[in-house]
């Protein structure tokens, strides 16, 4: 059923956009039949990369959220708890704002570097924070300390970004803010050649981790007594999360909410906590939610496009609240 919805959402995302396409034109273009060159360009060079990006980003962030929630046994954990996306923000902030200090107009600077410059800066920032988190987690015994330290990294880098904003000119601040709204349409087919392999590798790694994830869900001591090397898998999970979050954030900007909410949605739909089924379901739900949010962001009746970050939260949050309220079951803890 999820596969069906995914396919529907995928085609929906291709069809709807600021330029309306008739279904005949659309299929002509998709199937390569001779037709309007412009429509063919829109479908193949604009909408298809965007839809693929939505699938990659949605499933990748959802997987990170699931792994973080399982590893830290904390329902509020998400892909951003380790401060990796803050690292990406810092990279972009440094590029955008610091470059404006060396003369020239910020927007001009950014466009001359191109989108790829921002991507590389974000990647560098994310990787630096990821290696700091790994460096710490090799030395610390328990996951809770890692969680707290990760959040501290996030706060510290966030504060540096604020400082940069404070001392930068308004144009630079604005182009940075635009990046933080999230934008999956900026990812071109060229970018996908870099983004897709990283994300697909991360997704495969996540699917292969179902056994340690199931064990870690019980708690670290329980995992150890059934023979799971907790420390090793903790580091593997952090690396997979870091690469996925870092790469996706670098290309699309920090997309909030999806990583945190989708695993809860998948659990509620599936009524199972077994990662054998839960991981694939989470990937599917992530991709579907992201595609639907992108369709909504196009505002089908107008020429305006909303920032994807606002859509994911405004439309997604009520859905998740509704699903979770409907599925409340299990022993209520004495103190919840």
């Amino acid at each position: 059923m999820l596969t069906g919805i995914l396919v529907l959402a995928f085609f929906g995302d291709l069809v709807f956009g600021s330029i309306r396409l008739s279904s005949k034109d659309f299929f002509d273009a998709l199937l390569g039949r001779p037709g309007d060159q412009n429509i063919s360009y829109i479908v193949w060079s604009l909408r298809l990369p965007k839809a693929i990006t939505a699938i990659l980003a949605g499933s990748g962030l959802a997987l990170c959220g699931l792994m973080m929630q399982t590893l830290f046994r904390n329902p509020l954990a998400g892909p951003f708890v380790l401060g990796i996306s803050s690292g990406a923000s810092l990279g972009v902030a440094l590029l955008v704002m610091a470059s404006s200090w060396f003369g020239g107009h910020a927007m001009v600077q950014v466009f001359s570097y191109g989108h790829l410059g921002m991507v590389l800066a974000a990647m560098a920032g994310a990787l630096i924070v990821m290696f700091l988190v790994i460096w710490v987690s090799v030395r610390v015994a328990d996951s809770v300390s890692i969680l707290i330290i990760g959040m501290m990294f996030g706060s510290a880098t966030g504060a540096i970004v604020s400082l940069l904003q404070y001392f930068s000119d308004p144009d630079a601040v604005k182009s940075f803010l635009v990046w933080t709204f999230g934008d999956i349409s900026a990812v071109t087919a060229e970018h996908l050649k870099l983004l897709a392999p990283i994300v697909i590798a991360g997704l495969l790694a996540g699917l292969m981790l179902k056994k340690p994830l199931n064990a870690l869900m019980l708690g670290e001591n329980h995992a150890r007594v059934i023979g799971v090397n907790v420390k090793r898998f903790r580091i593997i999970i952090i690396i997979v999360t870091g690469l996925l979050t870092g790469a996706i954030t670098a290309f699309t900007g920090p997309i909030a909410f999806v990583g945190l909410a989708v695993p809860h949605l998948a659990r509620a739909i599936l009524k199972s906590s077994d990662h054998k089924a839960l991981t694939p379901a989470t990937l599917m739900c992530g991709a579907i939610i992201m595609l639907i949010c992108d369709i909504l962001a196009q505002l089908p009746a107008s020429n305006q496009v909303l920032p994807i970050n606002t859509v994911t939260a405004i439309f997604g949050a009520p859905v998740v609240i509704w699903v979770i309220l409907r599925n409340r079951r299990g022993r209520t803890p004495f103190v919840s």
Binding site: R73, M208, K210, K211, N214, A215, M217, L218, G219, N221, H222, R224, V225, I226, G227, V228, N229, V230, R267, L270, K271, S272, S273, D274, K276, R329, G330, R331, P333
Partner: protein, 275 residues
């Protein structure tokens, strides 16, 4: 298989010193030069006051923390605290740490006891499902396979964890305070279950407990760990006739409490030696 087969050594420790090593500081030693052994089919109860190091001893024997010095072998093979998968094939552990997971079935949880034997995708080799149903039957939870673990009572949850240890198929099961959160009927039934399992399967069982009365009834052998690290071993009957219990539990209490402790053990001994 009953106690007649009991003199094959399952666990042996030589000159074992347990405690916590700190970098740059002298180690905190809880007990030293322990010589322990467990034979097949034996049920051993580990008793002692709070803070005497019961959990530390169990964690060390289970390979969850390294000893300060000395060695532990299971069926002749040394336990190494950094080889968790190897260790999990030699002994299984039932912990009291609460498992707070929704929508996890009893079957799914028990099947995780097979993790030390399955490949990296969790694929089972031979008779996985049979083993799991047999284990659920052994802990008197046949028919519970598809129930959700978090909807069971504390006593039932404890049995599920015991079933998970059973499918791990090890010669030794270690339980850390298996009766800790249970009411009296459940405490009795868990202890009975441990006794029956040891008698029927020939597995050795080591458990820690604060239920002196139940432990005395259940165990073949008791280890009394005193504050200060002295460990007294013997059958319940042997230990009852001396002052071992009083010595173990009296240390650190004031005069009034000492009287209460003495009275308690007088009653305990009367009820047990009489039989």
């Amino acid at each position: 298989m009953s106690k007649s087969g009991a003199n094959i050594a399952i666990l042996e420790s030589i000159d074992l010193t347990i405690g916590y090593a700190h970098q740059g500081r002298p180690p905190l030693i809880l007990a030293s030069h322990l010589r322990l052994n467990i034979e097949s089919g034996q049920v051993i109860g580990l008793l002692g006051p709070n803070g005497s190091g019961k959990s530390t001893l169990l964690r060390t024997l289970a390979g969850l923390q390294p000893p300060i010095s000395g060695s532990i072998t299971i069926q002749g093979q040394p336990i190494k605290s950094n080889q968790v998968r190897q260790t999990a094939r030699m002994l299984s552990v039932v912990l009291t740490d609460r498992i707070d997971v929704r929508n996890l079935t009893v079957y799914q949880l028990v099947s995780m006891g097979r993790y030390p034997f399955t490949d990296w995708l969790g694929r089972e080799e031979d008779h996985g499902p049979e083993r799991i149903l047999t284990a659920l039957h052994q802990v008197r939870l046949a028919g519970y396979a598809n129930r959700f673990f978090n909807e069971l009572s504390d006593g039932e949850q404890q049995r599920v964890l015991l079933a998970k240890a059973l499918v791990q198929d090890t010669a030794l099961i270690i339980l850390d305070e298996p009766t800790a959160h249970l009411d009296l009927p459940n405490r009795i039934s868990i202890m009975r279950l441990l006794r029956t399992l040891a008698d029927e399967t020939g597995k050795s069982i080591l458990f820690s407990s604060h239920d002196l009365d139940l432990a005395v009834h259940t165990a073949d052998h008791l280890w009394l760990l005193q504050n200060g690290g002295k460990l007294i071993q013997g059958s319940p009957r042997e230990l009852m006739t001396g002052n071992a219990f009083e010595d173990t539990f009296r240390i650190g209490t004031d005069d009034l409490d000492q009287d209460i402790v003495t009275d308690y053990f007088r009653t305990l001994k009367k009820s047990n030696i009489a039989k």
